[in-house]
């Protein structure tokens, strides 16, 4: 009994830490996105609240917290309330299987914990795909329950788009799964240790440098589909401002609106984490081992690992913002044609080629 309660306490502490990290990342990201977009468009971004607008996320949070919570007439109240919660919760619990740091174990009073991953389950990738699909329900429900034509159109677009691009996400990951031979994100990341030529985007064999198993095509497909799945520009058709006011969250205000927006940023962070863990070697540095290990600080090597993971995640987040600053929105038929006629064949061909190379050059 004491072991169970201790285990529960440790797990809750881990969940709390992970959620606060994600929320801090989301808050940072709202500021970071506005700043970077401003810089790229010869503007300044937020400058008023605090030095260089640094307190803008806090001000936004307080403002949204005290805003009136409007439920439109004719809305399905239960569904209307459920949708933002569903989206937010789903965006949060996806992080449970993400390994933020190296796979080390700690023994505390007889129980073994992994400090940098909340739940190292052996179906991690499958879990993330399943959770991401549930996130689409929140968007569709929010669009449908608002009793507004714009919301409904946004929800319908989200349904078609998220489902068709999720297929590409899943198929792009198959090559990686074949290379690693496991679905656990911790073990997939461990399989890429020892330099950037072991990362699955390069795809060298464990004893060689030549990129025989390269997953670069799967990587590109994954990134594009991830942008589409998180409803970001240039695939932000569910919330196309110039056509559908705000898409599926047109009728939302106050904290519910904040939930949708934070869920979008959390989803961005989640796909960045997945992309760095699966293709860019997760916590592994691009050189074998760690520098802190070489200079004799083995017990602090995890710091360097975490810094590398954060650097990769923030690289992807910056890439998303960069793409947003550059590209206009696609037309709807272009979006669907790109998804089904370009991305899907590339993902399928990648699976076949990876299987063939894996058959002739097994790892």
């Amino acid at each position: 009994m004491t072991e169970l309660s201790l285990r529960l306490a440790v797990t809750f502490a881990q969940i709390l830490a992970e959620m606060s990290i994600v929320m801090i990342t989301v808050a940072t990201l709202t500021y970071f996105e506005r700043k970077v977009l401003g810089w790229m468009q010869d503007r300044m971004g937020p400058m008023e609240v605090g030095p260089y607008g640094l307190l803008q996320p806090v001000a936004d949070g307080i403002k949204l917290f005290f805003k009136e919570d409007i439920v439109p007439a004719g809305a399905n109240k239960a569904m209307f309330a459920l949708a933002p919660m569903l989206t937010m919760v789903v965006a949060m619990i996806g992080f449970a299987v993400i390994p933020f740091g190296p796979n080390i174990t700690l023994d505390i009073y007889g129980i073994t914990i992994k400090p940098f991953v909340v739940a190292d389950i052996n179906i991690g990738v499958l879990y993330i795909l399943a959770i991401a699909s549930i996130g689409a329900y929140g968007i569709i429900l929010g669009g449908w329950a608002s009793n507004s034509k714009y919301s409904l159109l946004g929800g319908l677009r989200a349904a078609a788009q998220v489902i068709s691009y999720e297929l590409n996400v899943g198929l792009a990951l198959v090559g990686v799964l074949m290379l690693a031979g496991t679905l656990s994100l911790v073990q997939i990341t461990e399989a890429q240790s020892g330099g950037f030529w072991h990362w699955f985007i390069w795809g060298g064999r464990p004893d060689g440098f030549f990129p025989i198993h390269t997953q670069i095509f799967a990587f590109v497909v994954f990134i594009i589909s991830a942008v589409a799945e998180t409803n970001r520009i240039p695939f932000d058709l569910p919330e196309a401002e110039s056509e559908l006011v705000a898409g599926f969250f047109t009728e939302y205000s106050g904290m519910r609106f904040a939930f949708f927006v934070s869920a979008e940023y959390a989803n961005m962070t989640l796909v960045s984490c997945v992309a760095s863990a699966l293709f860019l070697g997760g916590w592994n540095a691009p050189y074998p081992g760690t520098i802190l290990e070489y200079i004799g600080l083995e017990q602090l090597a995890w710091v360097e690992h975490i810094v590398w993971f954060a650097a990769k995640v923030y690289f992807f987040l910056f890439l998303f913002i960069w793409i947003r600053a550059t590209l206009p929105r696609l037309r709807y038929d272009q979006l669907m044609r790109f998804g089904w006629k370009v991305m899907l064949p590339i993902a399928l061909a990648n699976i076949i080629i990876t299987s063939i190379t894996l058959y002739f050059f097994p790892r």
């Binding site: 790229m40 503007r43 300044m44 550059t326």
Partner: protein
């Protein structure tokens, strides 16, 4: 599709060009923003701001109540109530003078129409108020705006445009008015 175009398509060449453009704007960061309440832009010389009634050097109002500004105004901003100066039947002044600045479009036609230069456009523009009635100005308020915007009323020749000075001397060869 030629081979070159095909290569450009599969390597996202055009998109990369666009991303290079945005990145170069970020790296050579020169914002066009002016942080308005903290730093204000330089107004042009002929800026047409808030309207004001002016006075002569001795403090008397210039306005003679001729109603020409009211006639010239396209938005019917101005309302003048003219009256005789008591005891002097040949002189008139504006007993009441109202401006509804909510309607003013700052065209400056009233200033052009005024025969005695009693109206002027100041360089004030920060006139946003919470109550619309505060933009309904009477004569005392308009004179106050004029007093604070043009505190020095005598001609400052050193500030005059050289072309104006040229015209002033250029007519010296014409026969002067006797007396």
């Amino acid at each position: 599709m030629t081979f070159k175009a095909w290569i450009k398509t599969i390597t996202f060449y055009e998109i990369l060009i666009g991303m290079k453009a945005t990145m170069s704007h970020m790296l050579h960061y020169r914002p066009v923003t002016e942080q308005y309440p903290h730093e204000k832009r330089t107004l042009p010389d002929n800026y047409r701001g808030m309207l004001a009634l002016l006075r002569y050097d001795d403090g008397t109002e210039k306005c003679v109540g001729c109603d020409l500004c009211e006639a010239a105004c396209p938005s019917r901003v101005i309302r003048v109530v003219s009256a005789e100066v008591p005891g002097e039947p040949t002189k008139r002044f504006s007993k009441e003078y109202y401006m509804d600045m909510t309607r003013c479009l700052f065209c400056g036609l009233c200033v052009d129409a005024c025969p005695v230069d009693a109206l002027g456009m100041t360089r004030e523009f920060e006139w946003s108020v919470y109550d619309k009635r505060q933009l309904h100005l009477n004569k005392e308020q308009l004179l106050a705006i004029g007093d604070r915007s043009f505190p020095v009323r005598e001609k400052q020749l050193e500030l005059q445009h050289p072309n104006v000075a040229f015209f002033n001397v250029a007519f010296k060869h014409l026969p002067q008015k006797p007396g």
